[in-house]
């Protein structure tokens, strides 16, 4: 019994040490991590294609070009099969092709809408976006008068037109926003039928209204 206990402890420690070592080696340098991850991800994708075709008894082909436009790899390896399938695809009518066709933007959008934690991520993104926007706007205002002095006479005319247009845009946006949000508020409040949802929207609106500045008010109304 004593010997078996000691062997158990040894195996546990050895397993944990291995995992720690692997993680530390991966995190040693970012470039190495990225390349390692990319090659492993490629293998994973092709492996998943193999599994899908085998399990469901269907034909799958993957065409993989690198960032520089070179053809890196295809699955299956035999390009004649891939070419055959690609030709069948290209011969289809456009309407047939459009069915069940997706690209990166649409696929990710659908994936995000199915996610239950969307509201948290959206709020984080919105906060980051708004803070970044303020920083850049302030920086732009600082830069424009400096450029007037730096640039020559011909460019001075174009630089003078820019500050005239941008504050007008600001005024226009600020002026129109409350009206639009008011209308959307009425629509959404009327459309919501369950009581709980109705109450939750009001509580969100009141809370944001108290803590935030005016810039955030229409956002809270939209929710």
């Amino acid at each position: 019994m004593d010997s078996s206990m000691s062997t158990k402890k040894k195996t546990k420690l050895s397993v944990r040490n291995q995992t720690c070592f692997k993680k530390s080696s991966l995190s040693s340098s970012s470039t190495a991590k990225k390349t390692t991850n990319l090659s492993m991800r490629e293998e994973t994708m092709f492996k998943k294609a193999l599994e899908l075709s085998t399990l469901c008894d269907i034909e799958v082909c993957v065409i993989y070009y690198g960032r520089d436009g070179e053809l890196i790899k295809t699955w299956p390896e035999d390009q004649s099969k891939v070419r055959d399938m690609a030709e069948r695809f290209s011969k289809l009518h456009e309407r047939e092709r459009r069915k069940k066709r997706t690209n990166l933007s649409l696929f990710l959008r659908k994936k995000i809408l199915d996610d239950n934690k969307l509201s948290e991520k959206v709020l984080e993104m919105k906060d980051s976006l708004e803070s970044g926007l303020r920083v850049l706007q302030d920086k732009l205002l600082l830069l424009q008068p400096e450029n007037q002095t730096e640039l020559g006479q011909s460019r001075a005319v174009s630089s003078t037109t820019n500050p005239l247009s941008s504050p007008e845009d600001h005024h226009h946006q600020q002026w129109t926003e409350p009206l639009v949000t008011g209308v959307s508020n009425t629509e959404q409040d009327l459309s919501t039928s369950p009581l709980s949802n109705h109450q939750s929207k009001y509580s969100v609106f009141v809370y944001n209204h108290d803590s935030g500045s005016f810039y955030q008010v229409p956002d809270s109304i939209c929710f």
Binding site: E42, E96, L104, N147, L190, H209
Partner: protein, 285 residues
């Protein structure tokens, strides 16, 4: 006499060690690294299925759908990380389907497939296209992969070029409006889910019909006109059925009372905030 039991004990211990080690080896081959840790702690319950054709059509269809989505997901991650262009074509599981191919592509399926057939190289993607910048889904997915938001980029924050900064500001404003649109879409999805959870389908249908009639009026006129619609709606309610009538009336009256109160409060607050913030910004400019 003394040496015989000693040897017997050694042999017994050796056999117990061998038996102890061998099944773990067998188990480890089936599981991944994370499962190894779980195996050590809890004894593990996960098993990977054998990679062979599934016989039952129902299981086959479900597996096909899920694994296809998984494959597309892996491809999308690879596209975001390495700016690669990928096209995936898959046939439907049954020949009776009216769909010819399930396809995923970046930049687009047609572009990649036509490049492959012609034997030429793909046109390489620009790293910061306007479409990629202003797409909410792509920005969120990049964040999940650890790439961060593009407006927090160091080169952008340090640049002194007003043209670049103004372009970034325009993209960010567009992205913000797209984000609001997406939030609205999500709200619709949630409302749909909530409606499904309601106990009575009759109540749901009637709610839908009522508020559809109310919506256009709210757009054109003020809130004072809302009570005028009561008799028409009450007539409709009477005509439909008596049982949900009472419930509908109660809910409607409650909603209207709360709506009027909150609306008045919100209008006053919005006006105050708008005037104050407008004055502040005008002074600053």
């Amino acid at each position: 006499m003394r040496f015989v039991p000693y040897l017997y004990e050694i042999e017994r211990l050796w056999l117990s060690l061998v038996n102890y080690l061998s099944p773990r080896k067998n188990k480890n081959r089936r599981c991944g690294e994370i499962d190894k840790i779980r195996m050590v702690k809890k004894g593990g319950t996960k098993r990977k299925i054998a990679i062979e054709t599934i016989q039952k059509s129902d299981y086959l269809r479900v597996t096909c759908t899920k694994r296809r989505e998984g494959l597309f997901s892996k491809a999308s991650q690879l596209c975001l990380l390495s700016d690669a262009q990928i096209a995936i074509l898959a046939t439907p599981p049954t020949s009776e389907s009216n769909i010819s191919f399930y396809s995923f592509g970046h930049s687009s399926v047609d572009a990649v497939v036509s490049s492959f057939l012609s034997g030429q190289r793909c046109v390489p993607l620009q790293e910061d296209t306007k479409e990629m910048r202003e797409d909410v889904a792509i920005c969120l997915s990049r964040t999940n992969l650890g790439l961060g938001f593009w407006w927090n980029n160091e080169s952008l924050n340090k640049s002194e070029n007003p043209q670049e900064i103004s372009d970034a500001i325009n993209s960010m404003l567009t992205l913000l409006s797209n984000l609001k649109e997406l939030s609205g879409e999500e709200a619709l999805v949630n409302d749909h889910k909530d409606l499904k959870k309601n106990e009575r389908s009759d109540v749901v249908l009637q709610h839908g019909t009522q508020y559809e009639t109310l919506n256009p009026n709210s757009n054109t006129t003020t809130i004072c006109c809302v009570p005028d619609e009561l008799p028409a709606n009450s007539n409709e309610i009477v005509g439909i059925s008596p049982n949900p009538l009472i419930m509908l009336e109660k809910k409607k009256s409650q909603i209207e009372e709360k709506f009027e109160k909150e609306w008045q409060v919100s209008v006053t607050r919005i006006e105050n905030e708008a005037t104050s913030s407008y004055a502040k910004r005008r002074r600053s400019i």
